[in-house]
Symmetry: C2
Subunit: 347 residues, 2 copies
């Protein structure tokens, strides 16, 4: 047992050919006689030959890997995003014969330093960057280095070009507003977060733009900010929005987790969704379907997006296109039961 791994040299010796010929034959070079190519292929298959990745990477300069740095996350933070994203990336990569490297940022090291390490150790041919922050050192670094990457998300104002795929949160939040406005709502709440991520601006701006487009001065918008990862503070913030008689009749939350908290707290405060309060989220996480009465939200199809990101990245790695690849994906409304007409007793 414990059969050793066979190398090209051994395979060549068995076939009474040179290493060069065997290597070329396996690569399918025309210059090797067809008969030889077939003979080599058969022997390789039969011997279960698999080329050594390290050796191949060393000489070719290509690792066949794409890197993703896992953001550091709190101890019991469940992240419905990661699983889907990674699955999608995997699907996109495998069709090109590439694989994924997941590098975790340790507690001491910044995400940037881990990224640098991945890039400069030559482990990956390209990287995917998620959760874009307002001033994101990672993109600046990658751009400076000229290293292939695709961002999932966008910067607000960049002084350089880069490849990105983003979910059109601005459009979705505009759509949410229009729908709620048409249902009679005039007093809106936006639950947002204090973390400096660009998507909070994009979504809020989309909402504001839709309000402006409507040109109705009676429309009001209350914006309440909560820290992203502190459940207690989040609840406190939500209650700040819901408390008092002069509360919004419709709350749009930056993402589903926030929206679910809004629904929970609304229920606790004796409000019935959607009769007393409409709630709309974003992301369509699994729990949104189960939380009564069913959260109306937008599906960003993370998995599909991730697959496209993988495709984009592999294109960038292979072709180094002169103009950046960009793609804005429109999320689809998932209309469940958490939104409805504005309450009659206008406040």
């Amino acid at each position: 047992m414990t059969t050793r791994v066979i190398t090209l040299k051994e395979l060549a010796a068995n076939l009474d050919l040179s290493i060069t010929t065997v290597s070329r034959a396996l690569a399918g070079h025309e210059q090797i006689a067809l008969k030889t190519r077939e003979r080599v292929a058969r022997a390789a298959r039969q011997a279960g030959y698999v080329p050594n990745t390290a050796a191949r990477t060393l000489v070719s300069g290509r690792s066949g890997f794409v890197g993703l740095v896992l953001p550091i996350r709190g101890p019991n933070l469940v992240d419905s995003f990661l699983g889907e994203f990674v699955t999608g990336l995997g699907e996109g990569l495998v069709s090109h014969g590439a694989d994924l490297i997941l590098a975790t940022a340790a507690l001491g090291h910044s995400e940037l330093s881990v990224l640098r390490h991945v890039v400069e150790s030559g482990r990956a041919d390209g990287v995917v960057v998620t959760r874009i922050a307002e001033t994101d050192e990672r993109l600046a670094y990658l751009n400076r280095r000229g290293f292939p990457f695709v961002a999932h998300g966008r910067l607000l104002d960049a002084d350089f070009d880069y490849n990105w795929l983003d979910t059109d949160g601005a459009h979705a939040f505009g759509e949410a507003f229009d729908m709620l406005y048409d249902l009679g709502h005039r007093h809106f709440g936006l639950m947002t977060i204090s973390e400096p991520m660009t998507f909070r601006h994009l979504r809020q701006d989309g909402l504001a733009a839709a309000i402006a487009r409507r040109g109705d001065p009676s429309v009001r918008l209350d914006v309440v900010t909560a820290p992203r990862f502190d459940q207690e503070a989040r609840i406190e913030a939500v209650n700040r929005m819901l408390q008092g008689p002069d509360r919004p009749t419709a709350v749009v939350a930056l993402f589903d987790e926030l929206a679910l908290t809004v629904m929970e707290e609304a229920a606790r405060a004796g409000l019935t969704v959607p009769r007393d309060l409409s709630v709309i989220g974003f992301d369509n996480i699994a729990a949104s379907a189960y939380a009564p009465p069913g959260l109306t939200t937008f599906d960003a199809s993370i998995r599909q997006c991730a697959r496209e990101i993988a495709d984009m990245l592999l294109t960038v790695v292979a072709d180094r296109p002169a103009t950046p690849l960009t793609r804005l994906v429109r999320p689809t409304l998932v209309a469940r039961a958490s939104h409805g007409p504005a309450p009659q007793t206008s406040n």
Copy 2:
């Protein structure tokens, strides 16, 4: 811009030292003068030197990677498991300076062939295997090869030793039975799956053992099997269990997704949980907290388990212990509101 990556040779030239000395200095060898070690370390840090992974792997035979093969999954299958598992693995690995490789099985290729490729290309020093099937070729292969691995889950009967970490589903299902029995239930239902995974046996056997331990001949158990990934067939199976007057008063489901379907279908059939029917799940996925009235289930702390698996695997890789590492983790009951006393009108 686009600064090239610095190599050991360049670093050595800058320092007017040989490659050997620089390499040893960075590795902290005692035989290199302390003064030199410090000088080299400073220069390396300043130059941002990062050793090339491929070269290092090639010569040392260690890649510093751990592999995980992503199971092929259906198009819109949301898998709450993966994100947590990967996060936990990352946490466990990073403390040892290792990283994770995620290889996806393409549609044509079997999971085994991808695993073989990962192993034999030398990409990984060890692998993690999840979702153990009744006859699992992967474990047999890895064992045959003598390649380091840790299984998440167990075989039912293996003719070889291997390292594993498993969640004690048998214990949990026994605990569920005891709790329900003490609440007066005598007629039980078990929703299980048709997929040949070992955990379905372990859990069902745990339930059966608890029933046997109790020694009450009036206890009845209906077992209904559903295909794992076919939502329609699953609903049909659940209704088979719930239909008719002679239905169980308590249903234990193999995992939360099934339990949630039971709760949904129960509601649709006009049954109130837990008044008419107690339901208990397993896994504690996020949706279980939201699905009314809140699913009682068991938390397997996937993330923590994954972290331990990473630790175990790195130990195996480094020390090749003679006796296998095994660990049975007891899941904790998360008592929500989906279980209660048996209905008075016994059927």
